[in-house]
């Protein structure tokens, strides 16, 4: 739910409650006012009745107007000295034969005149008056409803107007990419809070960017600087190996050191490659026939495929030509195929390749379990069997991202499948 929708909703509920309460008060206020008017009239009638009784006039004759109901009866002694106002309703059948309740107000009083006590009830129909009350209330309700609606519209308009810098900021942060070295520019606003928010975000993103750049430079420099010492170590080791008077243990130690150095170098090479892709250093593009690139790759890796007796199943349904960087394509295919071979079964495994117009998939049998989706394309996702540090998948992902392709991974009954949508 949007912020101003929510605000509006609460305002709407509050207004409704407040106005209902207001209508209730107004309604009763009007009614009591009307009652008081009626009561005044009733009291005037009362004094006329008393006057008439004192003069010996039959009270019935005093009221030719039938808008009053009048009853009088003689009682032995006067017991009530106060006026009793009551509200009641009289049943009346109207023209349409519908029972209607007609509200009426009555005054009951007792009086003594010429040693005779009387109890008098005067009733006045409130029909007209309650109609007026109802009309007023209806008008008020309509007015209030219109007000609420208009308020709602105004609120909406103001909200969207006031919050627009906020939404602008939000959309800009959303599309902000740390890798693009861009500074955020926000809409000018005269609202202090938004101004503060924008300034804070600006400072924050700038700080993050600076840190990111430093970290990136550090990694880059680190891997570049590491190259030379690594070369030196490996050539020194090679020279050391040329000596002949070693025992078996020394041979083993030398071999292991050398092997570890090579691994470290490969790793470093992978990191440099990742950085170079990130820095868009593979801009050159050639038109490459994917089908033949795949065939070529299979041929190069033939020895390893044969060594594990892996069956290659091809479904090449397309001779599609893609505009890609040849180096990146080579790295991509290399990593996909090497993974498919390396982690395949030692015997009777297969690799299935499907190439369609805009889609390439490679699946392979493997004793390995499903790769954790979250770890899938992470750097240094250590593989339990080979013990190699997995830069391969990370490189694949980087290249796929570089060309805005999509890659999916699925696993089913011992078969791992990577699918690239191009």
């Amino acid at each position: 739910m949007k912020l101003h929708t929510k605000t509006n909703l609460y305002t709407f509920i509050a207004t409704l409650l407040l106005f209902s309460f207001g209508i209730f008060i107004v309604y009763h206020f009007i009614l009591s006012r009307l009652d008081k008017e009626v009561d005044k009239q009733l009291l005037i009638i009362k004094s006329n009745v008393i006057k008439g009784l004192d003069k010996g006039i039959d009270p019935h004759l005093m009221f030719p107007n039938r808008s009053y109901n009048f009853s009088i009866k003689q009682i032995p002694t006067q017991t009530i000295f106060k006026n009793h106002f009551t509200r009641s309703s009289k049943k009346k059948t109207n023209v349409l034969d519908i029972d209607d309740e007609i509200p009426q107000r009555s005054l009951l009083f007792q009086t003594t005149s010429k040693n005779k006590s009387y109890e008098v009830t005067i009733s006045v129909s409130l029909d007209e008056r309650s109609k007026i009350g109802n009309d007023i209330t209806t008008v008020v309700i309509i007015f209030i409803l219109i007000s609420i609606f208009v308020l709602f519209l105004i609120n909406r308009f103001i909200s969207s107007f006031i919050w627009s810098p906020f939404y602008d900021t939000l959309s800009k942060i959303k599309t902000w990419n740390i890798k693009k070295n861009e500074h955020l520019m926000f809409k000018q606003t005269d609202i202090d809070e938004f101004h503060l928010l924008n300034d804070t975000i600006k400072d924050l993103t700038q700080q993050i960017q600076v840190d990111y750049q430093h970290l990136k430079e550090f990694t880059e420099n680190m891997s570049h600087e590491a190259q030379t010492p690594l070369s030196i170590i490996s050539s020194k080791l090679e020279l050391l190996m040329q000596e002949t008077n070693y025992n078996e243990k020394q041979h083993k130690l030398l071999g292991q050191t050398y092997h570890a150095t090579k691994r470290l170098y490969k790793l470093n090479e992978g990191l440099i490659l990742l950085t170079r892709i990130e820095n868009k250093q593979f801009a050159e593009i050639n038109s490459i026939n994917l089908a033949s690139a795949i065939e070529e790759k299979i041929e190069v890796l033939e020895d390893f495929i044969e060594a594990k007796k892996i069956n290659i199943i091809r479904h090449i349904n397309s001779s599609s030509i893609k505009d890609v960087n040849p180096v990146l394509l080579t790295i991509l295919l290399n990593n996909l195929f090497i993974n498919a071979i390396k982690y395949n079964l030692d015997k009777e495994g297969f690799i299935k390749i499907i190439l369609d117009e805009d889609c390439f998939s490679i699946e392979n049998t493997s004793p390995q379990e499903k790769i954790d989706r979250q770890m899938l394309f992470n750097r240094f996702n250590k593989n339990s069997i080979s013990g190699s540090l997995g830069l391969g998948l990370s490189l694949i992902k980087k290249i796929v991202d570089f060309y805005n392709w999509q890659i999916t991974y699925s696993y089913k009954e011992g078969i791992h499948k990577f699918k690239i949508y191009m």
């Binding site: 090679e238 020279l239 292991q256 092997h259 050159e284 060594a307 290399n334 390396k342």
Partner: protein, 224 residues
């Protein structure tokens, strides 16, 4: 044979010189473009190894100088980068061969060996040992007068080993020589091992002496 090593990294320069000196190559060294060009004016070399990332300008200048003044000299370029475009670039400039850091010293040696053969004998030279002759032009191996049937991989391994006689060749270097970047694949060492085994068997069956010696845990050696 005189080799000119132009490399600014002192340690690496010394290693190259030391490794190459075993093959009776005479080495001269330079650590910068300026010194290199100065030395090229006064001396004649058979082959130059040029590191492209020198402190005072790229090694490309030196290659151009050599191509203009002494085109007979072989040029092997060394770079720290490792992508295809560098390779194409370097060959365009006029280098005869190309190596990326870190390279195996044995690989460098084999490249020089092959370059020198191509340059001096028009590629028709043969590596000759006692009872064993490797014709690198025809890609033929003759053992005691008979042609020895080898697979392409076995032939490549034999040439590589024979180009580095008495040097220890690590299995990593061999694997990389055969498959390049793909060499890190787990099975490659086993593959090298089985290829060597077959090769040894074939040499043995041809009544040759045991040329290939296995150095436990490290690699192989071609004994003259």
């Amino acid at each position: 044979m005189k080799i000119f090593v132009i490399e600014d990294e002192k340690s690496l320069r010394e290693d190259i010189v030391e490794y190459l000196s075993v093959n009776n190559y005479k080495c001269d060294v330079a650590a910068s473009t300026q010194i290199a060009i100065q030395k090229l004016k006064d001396n004649i070399y058979d082959c130059a190894l040029i590191d492209i990332g020198l402190p005072d300008g790229s090694g490309i200048e030196i290659i151009e100088y050599i191509k203009n003044h002494n085109p007979k000299m072989g040029v092997i370029m060394i770079t720290a980068k490792n992508a295809l475009e560098d390779k194409l670039e370097s060959l365009k400039i006029g280098a005869d061969d190309y190596l990326t850091k870190p390279f195996h010293l044995s690989e460098l040696n084999a490249r020089i060996y092959s370059l020198m053969r191509r340059r001096n004998f028009g590629g028709k030279n043969a590596l000759s040992f006692d009872g064993l002759e490797i014709d690198t032009g025809e890609k033929k191996v003759i053992a005691n007068g008979n042609i020895l049937q080898l697979t392409k991989k076995e032939y490549d391994i034999l040439v590589y080993l024979a180009s580095n006689p008495t040097h220890l060749i690590t299995k990593e270097a061999l694997a990389e020589n055969i498959w390049g970047d793909k060499a890190d694949i787990a099975t490659s060492f086993d593959f090298v091992y089985s290829q060597i085994k077959n090769l040894k068997k074939k040499l043995n069956e041809a009544d040759l002496k045991n040329y290939i010696k296995v150095v436990y845990g490290l690699g192989y050696k071609f004994m003259e």
